[in-house]
Symmetry: C2
Subunit: 171 residues, 2 copies
């Protein structure tokens, strides 16, 4: 079996979740099985429809109905921890070729679980599984553990011009 | 009709074409029509299979069978210029909601056409069309003209460890 690596997409720029979606599409195109876990997010994004189009693509959200801006609620914490347990199981099973842990860095930023929990999960993954961790503020321990890290850096953003997130583009 | 913006993904990091693929997937999930033009590239990447999965997604390559490392051949130039004409037509027609001009910055870097040609094409696009330009070395005129620019910055890459591009992950 081909060895799977650990990839991180972090930084303040646009394109982290989007790149993870693109990687999922490419993997499906090559006949691979993909599990796409969204931490923190529970909103009904367009990409949830991807399961209708893509064979071998599964997606699940482990977040509340709105993004966390202040202190996470008990529901936020419970959802995230349940997600972590489920993803740990999926990663060690080797049932999927690619596992995306979308916004897991944000879950860490809000201390919904610890970086040690995530490192342990990564250490226990089946050898052939490729893993992608996304979200701003990737902690140094995750960057150290990863094989590939890309920072998406915002050079210019239309949000500053007042453009709101649009269906099918940002969400 | 909603206004379409001009996005650029540039930089030396991984995830530029991948993010453009992810944006295409999200757009298709929202019922939008997507045209994905690949400049410079003519190799049989996994993502060419995306047309089998995604409704309203079209893809065409305007490159030779191998990537340009030295001087472009006459074939490289002809393919790229033909692509530019076709994409200019597509952009002004408004037939697609999202048009990706993948690796167009590389085509500019190799002077397969001029930055003025590209700016003219962008100025003539139908108002509602969202455009994404990808590739390293985005020239200043393109960054100036764009509404959103993300630099994918390489923090750590497994290529330096000798990992080769893998089917379904990088290609």
């Amino acid at each position: 079996m081909e060895k799977g690596y650990i990839q991180v997409y972090t930084g303040d720029g646009k394109g982290k979740t989007t790149a993870a979606l693109g990687l999922s599409l490419r993997a499906v195109c090559a006949g691979k099985k993909v599990y796409f876990a969204q931490f923190v997010k529970g909103m009904k994004y367009s990409e949830l429809n991807a399961v209708k189009f893509l064979d071998g693509f599964s997606m699940k959200q482990y977040g509340g109905s709105c993004f966390i801006y202040n202190n996470p609620t008990k529901e936020d914490i419970d959802l995230a921890r349940g997600g972590l347990d489920e993803c740990a199981e999926i990663l060690s099973s080797g049932k999927y070729d690619l596992v995306v842990l979308d916004e897991i860095n944000i879950a860490l930023y809000y201390k919904l679980f610890t970086v040690d929990d995530v490192i342990k999960m990564l250490n226990n993954k089946a050898d052939g599984v490729e893993v992608v961790l996304t979200g701003r503020y990737a902690p140094p321990e995750i960057i150290e553990r990863a094989d590939l890290v890309t920072e998406m850096k915002e050079i210019k953003h239309y949000y500053t011009k007042g453009v709101k997130a649009r269906v099918g583009i940002e969400k």
